[in-house]
Point group: none
Chain length 201, copies 2
């Protein structure tokens, strides 16, 4: 094998033909251009070689050959990865069936004139009565409970009923409430639950 440093190619001084041209001034106009072109090509090949991890030989031809096989490998692995990811996403979404069911639930709710809503009734500084109507989705109850927990609400006398694709949640919650503060943030609370639904499956 040719002994050559990986990065620094020592340019061979071969073929330097000092051809004794008769007309020394007209040494062909494109000489410089051709040199530049060759240099550009060599540099490009060098960059290409630096990108390919496995280099069997330093030959120009083998550099390109290795680049070819490397591109093929990359394409294959890329395809495999994207397919694997696609499968993973598909299985992670719980199947389109679930989505359709949720869509049906929304339709059913709309057909029956049920709308998502949240109503907070202030009892006293430590007690609220919360009523929430949500589209019935997988895990929505857990997300709701988690939101309540995140807000520091302690649930008691909780009741849940589902019908016509909707879920009615009503609960007497205990905590330190600053009067009407939370009551005015009901929409925010609803958004929190909704966003939490969107985050996980």
């Amino acid at each position: 094998m040719r002994v050559q440093l990986p990065a620094i190619i020592l340019p061979r001084k071969t073929g330097e033909r000092r051809h004794g041209n008769k007309d020394n001034n007209f040494v062909s106009k494109n000489l410089h251009a051709e040199r530049k072109r060759r240099k550009k090509l060599s540099d490009r090949l060098l960059v290409l070689r630096s990108l390919v991890p496995i280099i069997t030989n330093m030959n120009k031809a083998t550099i390109i050959e290795d680049a070819i096989t490397y591109i093929q490998e990359l394409q294959k692995t890329s395809d495999d990865l994207s397919e694997e990811l696609r499968e993973m996403e598909a299985s992670s979404e719980g199947g389109g069936k679930q989505m359709e069911m949720e869509g049906d639930a929304a339709d059913e709710m709309e057909k029956c004139g049920i709308k998502e809503e949240i109503k907070v009734t202030y009892i006293d500084g430590n007690t609220l009565l919360i009523k929430i109507v949500l589209q019935k989705k997988r895990g929505c109850f857990t997300k709701l409970i988690e939101t309540m927990d995140y807000l520091g609400f302690e649930l008691s006398e909780t009741s849940v009923t589902t019908f016509k694709g909707a879920m009615l949640f009503s609960s007497c919650v205990h905590g330190k409430f600053v009067d009407a503060l939370m009551i005015e943030q009901t929409e925010l609370l609803l958004d929190m639950i909704r966003s939490k639904e969107g985050n996980t499956c």
Copy 2:
């Protein structure tokens, strides 16, 4: 731009120098070898070009240049995909946090002497009173409801309370019950809910 068919390159007949060599027999032995080498290199470049989707120009230099950018793109997308996949795998395992929380819930339940159980009280041929204590897990409520729905149970007067990592579910369900049949299958029902829990996140 050079007019050239994408796939079939018509070989230029340029530079065919019929140099009037004095010694016609010794036209330099490496002529054939050099031709073969050039052809090999050209062919490799052709293959490389066929692999790169975006080709700005047919030039040798630009072919390599495009290949370089393409390889860089492939490497980047490959890295991105693998990282995305890694994240997805990590989050798809339910997250160690969630597992830990569920484990904590189980510990807390055990510490408080609460055990998972199901108790079915027969009211009449159309009504049952069901009480279920389950470990509080993400989505367990939905799974429970789905199981009820699968069994053809119609829920009414449903109440849910969570405490100490456990979830208490009690409901008055309506349906066509064949007396004690379902009552004896309570363990089966519990297993169904548990297995449903295991299926999804």
